[in-house]
Symmetry: C2
Subunit: 327 residues, 2 copies
């Protein structure tokens, strides 16, 4: 029987999940839930209803796993614990410092409801976290480095857009090649924020805006840009649309470690080069939905992360087939 999936929200991440479900033959999209007027939302899958989130509890018997595609700032801290009372849920909560709190809240809700939840799925947190974990357990004497990019940072792009005189903007985070090289060489460098990443901004200014002032405001913005070497390029709205409309991302997790009392060095590198950040993230969420479904069928309850999921639970194939074909 097919795993029946519900999606909450219909932004980029949700559309990514909708597309990913079509690539997984053991799953069916049952419904999309939105806080907007459902009649105003047109989705890409024919025959699937769009419903209001207020009605979600009526679908408890029709949905096996709910993929919650809200934002981590305000949506998920409320939605995931709320829906976890009534459904198996998966989210991509990515506010790293708040993960322990979010985990506690969702775990409590899932246990009260008798359901399973998987939080913070995606690539960071997610696949990158897994590689930090595997790296550290295999090579306990060593260092882990995470680099992001080249890719679009939504938060930094938004920060630029809030500056007076800015009409639109896209910001790319770029790892510094020299730093990557030093890590790969096993030098175990101590790297400052500035040495690890640069930031490149493409800004559309409003007619007559003071570009020098905008550039200065960007480059001096605390936390977001002040600690980085930042480049600001002013372009037209047409150029932004033509050259910067995608949402690519990626990065590197590198573990360098030593064995045999320091005599041998090993370098483990995991990298992603993603055409679409939300589509890849959604693909991880969909695989985790399968694991949540299996845990629930076994009678397990409570909150999990990718750290708690036996990798085989993510696959539609049985153990013998996996061992034969992939081990």
């Amino acid at each position: 029987m097919s795993i029946r999936i519900g999606i909450v929200g219909y932004g980029n991440l949700a559309r990514g999940a909708e597309a990913a479900i079509k690539d997984n033959a053991d799953m069916t999209l049952e419904a999309v839930f939105t806080r907007r007027d459902p009649s105003s939302v047109r989705i890409n899958t024919a025959g699937v209803p769009v419903l209001h989130t207020d009605d979600i509890k009526n679908y408890r018997d029709k949905i096996d796993v709910l993929i919650i595609c809200g934002g981590s700032a305000t949506d998920l801290p409320v939605q995931t614990p709320e829906f976890a009372k009534y459904f198996n849920v998966v989210d991509s909560f990515d506010n790293h410092s708040m993960i322990p709190t979010h985990f506690e809240n969702v775990d409590k809700a899932s246990k009260n409801g008798g359901f399973v939840s998987v939080i913070s799925a995606g690539w960071d947190p997610g696949m990158f976290s897994l590689n930090r974990l595997y790296g550290s357990v295999i090579l306990p004497v060593g260092e882990t480095y995470t680099f992001w990019g080249k890719g679009v940072s939504q938060g930094h792009s938004d920060a630029i857009r809030r500056i007076d005189g800015v009409k639109n903007a896209k910001q790319y985070t770029i790892p510094v090649e020299r730093a990557l090289e030093r890590v790969r060489n096993g030098e175990n460098p101590v790297l400052t924020t500035r040495e690890k990443h640069t930031r490149e901004c493409f800004v559309v200014a409003e007619e007559g805006a003071d570009k020098a002032r905008i550039e200065k405001e960007i480059k001096e913005m605390p936390a977001y840009f002040a600690d980085y070497d930042t480049t600001v390029n002013f372009i037209t709205e047409e150029e932004l649309e033509r050259d910067h409309s995608g949402i690519p991302h990626g990065g590197f997790v590198i573990r360098t470690g030593r064995t045999n009392g320091g005599k041998s060095t090993h370098v483990v590198e995991y990298s992603l080069k993603l055409d679409s950040n939300p589509e890849f993230t959604a693909s991880v969420l969909v695989a985790c939905a399968r694991a949540a479904y299996r845990f629930h069928k076994e009678g397990q309850i409570g909150c999990k992360t990718l750290f708690d999921i036996p990798p085989a639970y993510l696959s539609p194939l049985d153990g013998a087939t996996l061992r034969k074909n992939l081990l």
Copy 2:
């Protein structure tokens, strides 16, 4: 309480495990078991007894997990099912085509004894298998490529040594850079054996041996070399010792996949660059020993592979600490 480890065998892999245990504060090496005369084996850890494998059953109450460090051709198919009746065991069985049979034999023995076993741990099978699995579940529409090297292939080196007139030899497997590039570019190439890897041989010939004949025999050897572009270099025993005494290895697992109906392409790459193949493999075995110990404490029984191990079970840290620091 410390996890008490026993090691079976005392070759390169066993010495790697012995060293790795020292880097894991929650483990203690209790004993090394050998088929040789124990008095002839000197190990690197003071105060740890070397015992004969015939006595192994007397140590059932003193050892939590046995790491079996034999070869996959003849040792492990016998030793792992035998010892799995009396101990939690971990091995690095790497004969891919025989894994299903080995799994069945070990699973049966472990279940009869009420123990947990982890087979085929290491990097291929092992970490590479995990990356093939994660890649295929996240990007179900896609292709997986595995490249090995640059590294020493023990089997191919042995095959050269069996040729008449060869005194010693080392063989390196080397991935073809152009093939790697095409895969990383998302070209999804269909690659022949010859297009993926080259083989480089360093051969010490016996005094007066016919080098042309040796080179021809190597290059035409079926299965081992005939399907590859092979280079043969004749060097002296001193040069072999000076430049080729290490056992480095490594390689790449690359998953390229498409989402959103083929509109977006993603490249996931996992690579290893290892100074010492046996030391890295042993480090994976030791982490798996921790997981076996935990499974057993929970009352689980039977055979597992890395596919079945929740990643957190490999770590000495608790879930909350892992989520806070690595997620």
